[in-house]
């Protein structure tokens, strides 16, 4: 168990509001990832980080931004939430070319 927590675990918000999800790890892993999971699409990468302040886009990055000011924390921000961003969000960590360890997930509903 890689010691990954996500907060909040559940959130309901309204269209147009900003939302920030937090991922915290205690394993000192260099890489951190944000995925969204939707029925029929599997897990899709939103953004990832390969070090403090080093981030890059994934395949579904539009409408999302990330920040990583410390090794242990990776924040995902929905700048203006839309209903299409209703999803389950998973954070994962790893050392790069190897196992990824997933957090418990955050269920986000945008009304």
């Amino acid at each position: 168990d890689a010691g990954i927590t996500q907060s909040p675990r559940h959130k309901v918000t309204e269209t147009g509001t900003p939302v920030t999800l937090r991922c915290h790890q205690t394993e000192n892993h260099r890489y951190m990832y944000w995925y969204r999971q939707d029925p029929g699409h599997g897990l899709r990468l939103i953004h990832y980080s390969y070090g403090v302040k080093d981030t890059d886009k994934g395949e579904v990055s539009d409408g999302y931004s990330v920040s990583r000011s410390k090794t242990e924390d990776f924040l995902l921000t929905l700048e203006s939430a839309t209903s299409s961003q209703t999803s389950v969000y998973f954070c994962a960590t790893g050392q790069g070319e190897g196992t990824q360890y997933f957090g418990p997930g955050t269920r986000l509903t945008v009304l």
Partner: protein
């Protein structure tokens, strides 16, 4: 590009075997397999590296065919605990691209 998994769903009785396939249109260097139980996070099963090496986990094994750009996951003598959604992921530069998943249901 997302790898393609087949079949989309499998229903088994305890003790039966199953094969899940993962195909990519891009050259593969490694393939990862994960299992996710309902309402939980995905959990790592194994990595297959370039070279066709076969790995095992419990009674679950996998193969990797670079030339065909595909990997197969073999579940032998399935148990109730094998139920879940299985994802393959293809790795490039530290990033994984996951398939859409295969739902495996094992009945008593």
């Amino acid at each position: 590009q997302q790898p393609v998994q087949s079949p989309q769903a499998v229903i088994l009785r305890e003790g039966e075997d199953a094969v899940i396939n993962c195909s990519s249109s891009k050259a593969l260097y490694s393939v990862h397999w994960y299992r996710q139980k309902h309402g939980e996070a995905p959990v790592f099963l194994m990595i297959l590296l370039k070279g066709g090496e076969q790995k095992g986990h419990e009674k679950i094994s996998a193969s990797f065919n670079e030339k065909k750009q595909q990997s197969s996951l073999y579940l032998t003598a399935s148990q109730l605990s094998y139920s879940g959604t299985y994802f393959c992921g293809t790795e490039t530069g530290g990033k994984l691209t996951f398939g859409q998943g295969t739902i495996l249901t094992v009945h008593p």
